[in-house]
Every structure is written in structure tokens, then in C-alpha cells.
Symmetry: D2
Subunit: 420 residues, 4 copies
Amino acid sequence: MTPALAPLTPNEAIALFTRTRARSDALAAPLSPEDTMLQSMEDASPVKWHLAHTTWFFEEFILKPRVPDYRSPDDRFAFLFNSYYTQAGPRHARDKRGLVSRPGGQAVRDYRAHVEDSLATLLMQRREDGDEIAGLVELGCHHEMQHQELLVTDLLHGLSFNPLLPVYKEPEPLEVTAGTELRFDSHEGGLVEIGHDGAGFAYDCEGPRHKTFLSPYEIANRPVTNRDWIGFIEDGGYGDARHWLMEGLAVAQREDWQHPLYWWQQDGTWWTFTLRGPQPVALEAPVVHVSYYEADAFARWAGARLPTEAEHELAFRDRPIAGNLMGDGDDIGMLRPMPGAGVWGDVWEWTASDFAPYPGFRPPEGALGEYNGKFMVNQRVLRGGSCATPREQMRATYRTFFYPHQRWQMMGLRLARDVA
Amino acid sequence: MTPALAPLTPNEAIALFTRTRARSDALAAPLSPEDTMLQSMEDASPVKWHLAHTTWFFEEFILKPRVPDYRSPDDRFAFLFNSYYTQAGPRHARDKRGLVSRPGGQAVRDYRAHVEDSLATLLMQRREDGDEIAGLVELGCHHEMQHQELLVTDLLHGLSFNPLLPVYKEPEPLEVTAGTELRFDSHEGGLVEIGHDGAGFAYDCEGPRHKTFLSPYEIANRPVTNRDWIGFIEDGGYGDARHWLMEGLAVAQREDWQHPLYWWQQDGTWWTFTLRGPQPVALEAPVVHVSYYEADAFARWAGARLPTEAEHELAFRDRPIAGNLMGDGDDIGMLRPMPGAGVWGDVWEWTASDFAPYPGFRPPEGALGEYNGKFMVNQRVLRGGSCATPREQMRATYRTFFYPHQRWQMMGLRLARDVA
Amino acid sequence: MTPALAPLTPNEAIALFTRTRARSDALAAPLSPEDTMLQSMEDASPVKWHLAHTTWFFEEFILKPRVPDYRSPDDRFAFLFNSYYTQAGPRHARDKRGLVSRPGGQAVRDYRAHVEDSLATLLMQRREDGDEIAGLVELGCHHEMQHQELLVTDLLHGLSFNPLLPVYKEPEPLEVTAGTELRFDSHEGGLVEIGHDGAGFAYDCEGPRHKTFLSPYEIANRPVTNRDWIGFIEDGGYGDARHWLMEGLAVAQREDWQHPLYWWQQDGTWWTFTLRGPQPVALEAPVVHVSYYEADAFARWAGARLPTEAEHELAFRDRPIAGNLMGDGDDIGMLRPMPGAGVWGDVWEWTASDFAPYPGFRPPEGALGEYNGKFMVNQRVLRGGSCATPREQMRATYRTFFYPHQRWQMMGLRLARDVA
Amino acid sequence: MTPALAPLTPNEAIALFTRTRARSDALAAPLSPEDTMLQSMEDASPVKWHLAHTTWFFEEFILKPRVPDYRSPDDRFAFLFNSYYTQAGPRHARDKRGLVSRPGGQAVRDYRAHVEDSLATLLMQRREDGDEIAGLVELGCHHEMQHQELLVTDLLHGLSFNPLLPVYKEPEPLEVTAGTELRFDSHEGGLVEIGHDGAGFAYDCEGPRHKTFLSPYEIANRPVTNRDWIGFIEDGGYGDARHWLMEGLAVAQREDWQHPLYWWQQDGTWWTFTLRGPQPVALEAPVVHVSYYEADAFARWAGARLPTEAEHELAFRDRPIAGNLMGDGDDIGMLRPMPGAGVWGDVWEWTASDFAPYPGFRPPEGALGEYNGKFMVNQRVLRGGSCATPREQMRATYRTFFYPHQRWQMMGLRLARDVA
Ligand SMILES: [Fe+3]
Ligand SMILES: [Fe+3]
Ligand SMILES: [Fe+3]
Ligand SMILES: [Fe+3]
């Protein structure tokens, strides 16, 4: 999106494309045709739609403009599988994606194959615009990786309405482990630079790299755990107005939130519904599926606060990108947060920062300019990636963003504090 | 439901059961697994759910209470596939039926086979309660036939949200035919008897047979046609408050009704979406997919009124049950209203009558008493059956009922008038 | 509305008009300007609006068409104070009546005086259309009496949101009285005539008088009391699905109904908010402020049913019109149901009958034809009048109608039974 | 709120209190009792409620804790007139304030007098906690001034639903003036300090004063005018998705926004409803009653952006506090934006900044800590004050905040740009 300093070579682009497409296929492999139809809310999309939309993206932004004789298997797919790009034409109602039974699974797989073949052919050609194409393929792959994360979280949400509590991935009980003691690490702050510097792929909203001033702060060595969260519950945290933003309390009361999404209590034990079916809540694992409102209330209850995104970036940017993420190629990973002190992976961590343009931000011209820019209101940035984030799209500057009431992503938190 | 005077013999029961189950299978045969998942509104259910729920009915009301060693393939199906029988235990949320991807299509077919085998075994036995069982099987088959009608109308509604306008049954264009001239036939009324007399199967709400007094009236020889309806549209009928019930006008304005459900105009021609895909509106065929509010406004515009259900029954009860209905066994019929002057079949005809208990009505004890009785408020009776109604469940005393705002059934109307 | 056989003389018309207008003034007298602004829901209107709308009715339907030089104090009042007569022109949004602070109280009183003077002048003239005018004045007075009932019930609803529980009329505690034992009186039914015969004033919907056939039935000698109702509550009636219409149960659960509107429990005693402020529930008085859904469920719980309107009319039409009604002239009456066995007054009694046109019903031409006809769907008839109904508008054929979920009127019930 | 460096002397506190209370009285003076009841949406409150709530504030936070024998005229007022302070006890539903007809206008005036007398007595005493009391009185007066602004904007909203378009203040047509040419002034930015330094009164959220880094920027010399806005309208700005945040476009379409709130077109001229009744839109005056979404879309259409709050503060903090504001004492001012290039007054200017805590922000202990802190999510900061803002509460560091969809305040905008 931002013109990378060193674009991918054709071979690199092909390899990335192949790995990425294989991962989508691997994610869909365990599912029945019926499973791929689930749409449980407007925010979520069916698996079949994700598979088609990520394919449309390559077709719309690469094949159609650059391959004169390119023919889509069905011209109406552009209407069905455009998500929100107004400059790419009209599109199907977002909340009705679950009502598109046709094209069916095989037709979508054929669509994928058709676009993959066409793109492979294109990448094999020596063309003047080869670098541009490689850049767009890279963007398309990162786009597909974002949808891989959505695919599994949307699927979990969809399955959660089935009283049979279906299993997506083998359950494998977690070993009981010792917890990581909570510690706060100090940072001096000062006038620092954050944001992406343009080396390698990044989304437009990660730049420009720019100066910002930070007061001294402390940040926790690990995310808040389920054990911590149960302490909040047992202390009456959900019902104590002093901890809550007014709007958060109103949502919590209207939705009758008493615990994270997918939890229930059974004979005194907390259980949760996961991609591996029902599981007892793992006390030392990071809490997941909490809203910003809950995270913010927890932090206040704990005598702390959420970090800003700049504080988070500064604290962890030198930490190598490794952890409990979705694997490469067809390795779909653990798909659940694991006990430990990881930063990258496990759970996205809510920050106190509004999703706002960095100083000097300028989205690209045309439909791709809609990728991030038009979401810059009322959303909060999360940092760190989750167990559903493909490893190769993770970066220290990566900003994901959601509304403060949303809980269905792999969302948790990490505490921070002012230095008195 | 009402104890029939002459119960079915075991062989008759088996034959009815076999025919009925075959028809459900025939209805589902053209559908992909994805198609069977569609649930487009709370009023409608997925095809897969209909297939399972009609099976659960036999299991719940016959096998479980009467076959001591009967084992369900999955005890949780009782929760998933109970519709609204509170006395048969708790049940899954009605508006979340489209989120039950598992059990999948094959599991539901296995469930059907399992119950069919168990029931066949039971029917083959000579038992003291053989007549009761035969009566319950007959009820279960009529119940399944009701769901066959819902299955196709729910499916049509579900498919209608797909911009690809999918075809369920081969399109076969209609031949252009001459219309049937409108004529009103006079009836004297007086003190008459209506309702079912107990000979053969009927639902509880069709009886008791009872006296009612009718003033002289006239009733049309044919349903209102699409040609008639276009006259109403072109005369500004949808926008003229004088024709409308206040509540009807409010709904029409809120929903922006300008024509029957599924219609649109294209180059000056009216088109409609049907189970045979998009079709030009057939001018001489009965109008279908209009609400009670619209039917009532049309009648007032036409200087007429809707008949009461007693008027309808009296006028047509001697007409043999034949017409454009769903066929026997696996014959699913035309699935669209056809030009002509039929009473049975084509379209259900809205009556002016509230769905109310007949004098002396008493529902059976237990969960089956919930079949009709608890719906007796705010719904309107329709008479005559439709092209989606299995022929062998049709009777002159048959009362179906829907809310005045509903349009997704095969609903039309026939005019009546007072004799001055 | 129906042309009366013997129209009022001018003097009778003036006397009725004077009595009626005086009663409205008496009802408004205890209220502050702020009180007259309350609009607590779309179904209810502010007192100030009632005072103006009943005035507009005389202006719109008598003065404007019949007095060539009549000048309204403000032409825009026609827009503000038309309720729902589409043929009388556009009108202000019904749910925004509480936002019309101007014209203020004095301006509305001036408007009333202006129209009263103009009408008195008109009535004093000898005119060819004198009988028509007398008939319209009579209609206008009955219309105003209907609004007098709404005025007090809307006011009660509006005041009920004030935590100070304001008193409208002096509290006067009720004496404790003995209850009236419940008895069922038998009626033979048969082919009977009901409806208004045209002698004296009646609304269009009360006729034509017509034949109907009734099976033998029994009807209770008194309305259901608060003591009876507490029995229903204590027996778990609100939570037992077997007693309820499905739609009723859904509403009861959504609204969390556990008792009649305005009730609460305090130290083991039931209290209720009334026009006389908070009061302990009077055990022997008729229960009031229950919906049709609740009334119907109560009747089923009690092994009975609600009477039809024909059954009610037949049973009580020979009983003289007397009882706990709103008085004449400025006598506003008790304004609460009183212990006893009255039929006329105390509480309106829900019937099992849909509000439907009688056979041969034909509303008058023009805007006055909208008076009743356009409400004939989804509403239920109530019979008997209430403590808020002016005595002189009560008749045995009087049909009032409300939606089954509504509770803010003085609504109660009386039981009936089939004769086995 | 923040402990001021030099607290008010008792005489200063009394003078401020007297001026402030007089202004509230002056604002209410032209209103009828009915006018003071208007509540047109949950966000707005009736004038009568504002008068009582601002009184309760002094009672709750000064008199009750510090005057042992203080007696409220009615203990239940604490429930009625607490707005949102959970730590000050339960409170009446916010959206039901318009249903509190009693206490009436006179009772509220008596309540005001009672508290004023009690407070005057307290201020006259020499007490150890005199400085604290003076500080709380100052806070209470600033609180009342905030409510004075709400009082007039809520009133305008309430009156706007009256088709008679009532006049609050004499209309006085505006003279036609020449416009101010648009110019952008450059600022270097760099590492700067913003926020309140503690000298004189300020709300907690205005501090701590802290460093922030700004890139070079330009900011307009005047707000966007109605003439500018009509250019946006005429260029199709409301319908062009490219200018809009996705969420903003969805709101604009749902609410059918085609122009600022209160505007309509009549014979080719734009009119608007104001506190001075209907007025032609003054072309050179600042546009008012636009949401953040609209302001943001306008700025993008204009090739600019909204300033951040830091940019705004830095640009204008040396400009003396003078302009078209609400006057002192009983001078209620112009109550409409005036042509010109003012910063303070006329219209609040939307900034691009989320309402977030400044680094190191810590709200006071107890209920007063709820004053601002619990609103810090999803709201946007506005700067500059409006024609409805009392002059003596204005400061360069003042942050007001509203939701991006809100339009009923005196909200406009000023453009900014990056320096390329
Ligand atoms: Fe996408
Ligand atoms: Fe069923
Ligand atoms: Fe009226
Ligand atoms: Fe306040």
C-alpha cells in the first residue's frame, strides 16, 4: 500500500501468494458446506464469502485493470463479493451475505482456481508494471490474511449459536501450567518516533513515521489472565459503576454482560466455547473476548490504565515477531491463547488510542484509499496480534481497530501505568 | 386431532406416511446443502430444519411415549427441532435456526431414515393402541404436509435475497391464456352450519361444526388476477388513504409497499421472482404474495369486500377438491398460481375473519393442544389452499391463518359483496 | 352518526353541548399548565391537546362547512389538532403532541370559548339544516366524551412516570367491603338480534342491528376482582405457558409483566398508582389495567373464557344504564373502580370478539367515515364502560376497542363459560 | 475542580454566584410554563429540569455535606434532579425528564430561592473551609453556565417540533454584510505545551498541562460559512461517498441528511429555524448545527482537514477572550452566530481529536470525579465556544465534547491543512 522500498520479486510474490491461498484452503478444509454459510451478525461474514471476497480482491484490483482479455467466471460476483469499496461499484447488503447459497462451495473453489491460474500466468510474464503487480499481490495476500483471522473468529461466533457446541479443531485439553508473575517495566518516554518507516510491507495507516512525545510510563510484562479476570468478576467489577465509562456501563447493562463472551459457569467452574469446542477456562492463559469497555473498566479496577498505542509500540518494537500466531502455509496454529508472557500472538491488546490518522496521513487515490481511512472514527486500536493472526502479517507497527463494544475477535488487554 | 369416526387402517397409515415422506424428499432433492441452510427471517425456517422438525414430531408424539426402548440418534435433537410446544420441553431460538449447521444434511437424512424405520416397525405390530397410533401418524403426516408448504415458501423467500435470482424448478414460460370474466354468484345465507363434522381427518380448530347466521351475499367466481391488481396500482391505490385500514397504511408506508412482494418493473413490464426464477407477471393468473392489508384495500377500492370464512365455506364446500395443488407422493406440482377459476389451489384467499375458536372449541390435552389454539389472536383466516398445498390435506373446512402483514405465503384474494 | 330517528331539538343540543364542555373544563381544572403537557407514549395525548382537538372537531365538521364567515383564531390549528382524519387534510405527528407548548393553556381556552360562542350562535338560528347541525353537535359531544375518558387515562399514564406519584383527585381511602360471591348466570342463546336499532344516538359501528346465532352460555355476575387476580399471580399464572396465547406470552415476557399496570408490592402488600395517588389495592374491586392477553390467560387459568360481545350484549342489555360512571356536567365521578357487581361503569370488560364490521356495515361518506371503520383490524371489543366513561354516552350496544397489548385504559374482565 | 492557585474570595464567589443565577433567570423569563416542559429527545432536557438540576448541584455538593442543619424543600428532589452522578445516589430516568410536571414552575423557583439563600448565608460565614467552599461555588457556577448553553440549545430543539415555529427572542433581521476572505495562517508546530496550567478555574480534563509534538500546519482565519456550506450541498457533497467516513455516510443516509439541522428550502432560498424564529440563512455567518461526520466530509471535499485540538489551542491561545458569546449577568446575548472572523463565540468548532485524558489525568475522588472522566470514549472535542456559551466560562484550554452524530448544539467548523 505504502510503496515499499524493495518490492517483492516475482518469485517471492508467487511464493507468498501460494502460501496465503493454501492457508485459506486449510482453514476451510474441516468445514461442511453448511458450516460455510453461517452469518450470525452483520459484523461477521460466512466462510464461503471470505473465500470468494479475497479472490475478488485480486480480480478487481489486478486482473481486471491489467489483463485486457481477463474474463470473470461470473460478472455478478463483483456485486456479491465486493465488501465496502464504493469506488469499485455497488455491492450486496452486508447483513445478507448468509443468504447467498449460490454460488455453492464448488463454484467458489472454481472461482478461486480461476483467479489463481490467471494471476500465476500474469506473474510469470515479464512486464513493465511487474513491480506494481508484485506490490498489489502482496497487498492482496495481506488482505487475505486479515480475512483468515476474520474467517476463524466469524466461524466461532457462528458456531456458538448451535446448542450442540460443535468442534472445529481437535479439542486437546490444555496442560495446567504455572502463571507468569505480573511485573511492570519502566519506560522513559520522551520525544520518540513511531509508525512504519516504509521498509517492507505495511498498510497506509501505519505511516507516516512521525514524532510523538511520551511521559514516563510502565507497562505490564504479560497480558491480563483469566485468573485476573475472575478476580474482577468476583469483586463485583461488572456491577460497580465507579470503574466504568458511562457508555460502557450502559452497554454492559443492556447486554447483561457478567463475564467475557462465550463464558458460562457450571458447577462452580467457568467454561468457555472455543474453536476446539467447550473448554474449562484456562486460568493462566490471557483473557480473550472482552470489549474495550470491559478492558477499560478492568484496568481502572486494577489501579492501572490501558497503554496508548505509542507506548505499546515503543515498549515492544524490538521484540522479535514470534509467538502463538497462525502459522505459515497450511499451518493454522493453536487457535487459542496460551499461558505465557508473549506479546505477538495470543490476544490482541486493546489500547487507549482512538484509531486516528497519523500526522501527514494521506490514503492512496482510488478505491484502495478506502482500505483504512474511512474507518477512522469511534474505533480503538489494538496491538500485538492474536492466535488467529497469520505470523507473516504481524509487525510492531501493525494497527488493528474495532469498536469498543465488540468482543468476537481474539481481544484481551495488557495494563500500563503512569510513573508518579 | 379430532378423533376421526373411522381411523386409518395400519396399511392406510403406512401408505400415507410413505407418500408424505417421499414428497418431502422430492422437495429437497434439487437443493444444495447451502440452500437448505437459508433462514431469511424469523417467520421462515431453513429447509433442513423442516426436514428434521417433521421427523421430530413423529418421534416426540409417537415413538418416545409408545416405544419403551426407542433411542433417538441424538437426544439433543429434541431441543433443536421442537418448534413451539412448551409442554414438550425447552427449544432452540426460532430466529437462530439458520445458524445450526450441524447436524448436516446427511445426519438429518439419517435421522429421517431412523425414525421412518422405527415407525414402520411400530405400525407393523398389532397393538391395542393401533388406532391411536394410526391417528397420530395421520396427524403427523398432515403436519408434515403443512411444513411442505412452508418449506417451499420459506425457500422462495430465502432465495429472493440472492441477487443471482436462483432457479429452484425449471422455468417453463407460461402460455398466454384468455382471462376468466369476473362474475358474482349469489347466496341466500340464513342459518347455516359450518365446520368439520368429524368424518375423516381435520384439525381441532375446524370444529365443532356449528350454526351461524349469514345475510345474503355474493361471491366472485374467480380470484383477483394480476391484471386486476395492476389496475389498482395504476389507479394510485397504494397511495390513497381512503381505501386502507389505518394500520395497513402505516405498514405499507413503513415498508414502502408499491406492489406485491417479489415484483419489480423493468422497461414497463412487471416481473416477479418465483420458484421458477424471474418471470414476467402472468396477467390472467391470480395475484399472489399480497398481505391482508393490501387485499382489504383492494377490495374497498373495487367497491367490494373480502368474504368471511363462513361465506367462503358455504359457497364452495360442494366443489370437489381438485385444482392446482401440490401433487401426491413425489409430485411437487406446478408451484405457481395458474390462470383459471379454481377454488382449491393456486392461492390462499384472505377472508375478513379473525382466526377465532368456533363455539365450543376445546383443544386436546397436553402439548398437541398447542397446535392451533394458542395462535388465536390477531391472525386472519385464509381459505382455499394454494399451489404449494399438498392435495391430500385440502378440505372445504380447512382454515389456515396468518398475520395481516405477512406476504410470503401464496396469498391472494377473492371478492365478495353484500346483497343490497 | 347513524341518522337518529328523532334528532335533538336545538335546546337539547345546546344543553348537551353545555354539559359536555363543562365536564371537560372540570376535568382540566385541577391541573397546572405543566400537567397539561404530558405525553408519555404515542397512544396517549396531552390534556391540552384533548381540549383543543375536541374543539377543532366542532370547527372542522360544523362551523367551517356551514358558517361562511367563520374565522378560526389560527388557521394552523387545523394542522395541529386534527387527529387522524386524512380527508380533513394533513396533520401533526401524533407522537409529537407533547412538544407543542404553544398555543399555551390560555390560548386553548380562548379557542374553546371562540368555538363555543360561534356554535351557540349557530344553534340559536332557525336554519333548514338545523336537524343536521343538531346531529353533528350530538356527534361532537359524544366525541368529546370519548376524549374525556382518554384525557383521564392518558393523564394517569403521564403522571405515573413521576416518582413523586402526584395526586390528581383527593385520595379518600376506600372502605373495606365484603366481596360479591361469584355466580354464573345461564343464557339460552339461539338466533338473536344485536346491535343498535337507530333510536337515539349511536356510532356507525354499533349497527346495523342484525341476527346472530349463540350457543347456550353462562356469564359471571360480576367482574374479576383484585382478589381473584392476586390468586392468579400467586399460582404462578404469569409464568405458566399453558394459559397463554403464544403472542401474549411473548409480550408478557418482553415487557416483564408480573402484575397489572401500575401495581407494585411493598412489605407484602400490593399497591397501585391511581388518579387519587398511590393506594393499596382494594381486594374486592374489579381488577383494572390488564391487557387482553392477561385477561385471556386469566380466564383459561380459571377454567373459563371471555364472553363474546354478542353474549355480553344479550346478557346485560336490559339492565338500566347506571353505575360507577363519570357523572353529568362537571361531575367527574369517582374515577376508580368500586367493589360491587356493576356492569355499566367501573371497568371496561375485554370480550373475545375481534372489532369487525357488523354485516351490512357501511361507514358514512367523507372524513367522518374514518371515525371507526379504519380501525377494524387486530383490535378487541370491550363492553360495559368504566369509571372514566361519561354516563350519558353509555349504551348496551356501545363497542369500544383497543389492541390486545394495551393496558392504560380502565380495562378489566368478566368470565363466561360454555354450557356443557 | 483543579485546585486553583488563588481561590475566589467570599465576595468574588458571591458576585459570581449572583451573576450566574441571574443569567439563568433571564434565560427562563420569556418562557411559558408549557415551554419549560419540552423534552424532544433523550439528549435534551426541559428548561425546568435545568433550573432545578443546577440548584441541586449546589445543594448536593455544598449544602448537604457542609451545613449540618440544612433541610431540602423536598428530599425527593435529589432523585429527580441528579443527572448522572452514580456516587450521589440513584436518579430518575434521563429520557423521562419531560414527564415531571410537578414540582411546577413556582416550586422550582422556590427551590432555587431556598438554595440561594442557604448558600448566601454560608458564604457570609467565616469558616475554616471557606476556600474549599468558594472553590465549589465556582465549580457550581461554571456547571450552571454549561447548563445555560444546554438550556437554550435544548429549547431550540424542543421548539423546532412545533409547526408554528415559535419565537423565543425578538427576530431582528440580520444586516447583509460582506464576507471575510478565507486565508490559512501557518504554524510551525514542534514540541509544545498545551492544557491548563492551574491559574484560575478550569475543569479537570483541561489538565495537566503537558508536552505534545506538532508538525507544521495551517489553520483558517475564519469558520466555514453558510455560503461555503451551500457550495458543498450544490456540489453533491452529501451524496458523494468519497468524502465521507463510512460510519458518517451510514448515519447521513439513515437520517436522510441533505443540509444542516433546522434548514429547509423555500422558493430557492435556504431558511433555518433559530431562537429568533424562522430566518433566511445568513450567507456570511458561520455554518451551525452540523455533525462531526458532516464537518469531516466538508473538510475532505474542500481539500483540507479538521484541526486537532492541540493545533487549535496553539493557534488561538493568545487571542483575548472576546466575541459573540453569551453576556454577563442577565445579558443573554445574540444567540446566533454572526458574520465575522471570531474564534471565541459564534460556533463551537469540531476538532479531529477524540476526547481523551491528557497524560497524567486523574479525576478527583468521589462523585465529582464523574464530571468529565466517564465520558472519555467515542466523543470528539470542540473548541472556541459559541453564541450560547457564557463569556466568563470561556478559556483557550476549554474542551467541550459531543458525539460525532450530534447536531443540536451550536456546532460548526474551521479548516486546517498539513504543510506539504
Ligand atoms: Fe476485505
Ligand atoms: Fe410444526
Ligand atoms: Fe378524536
Ligand atoms: Fe449537570
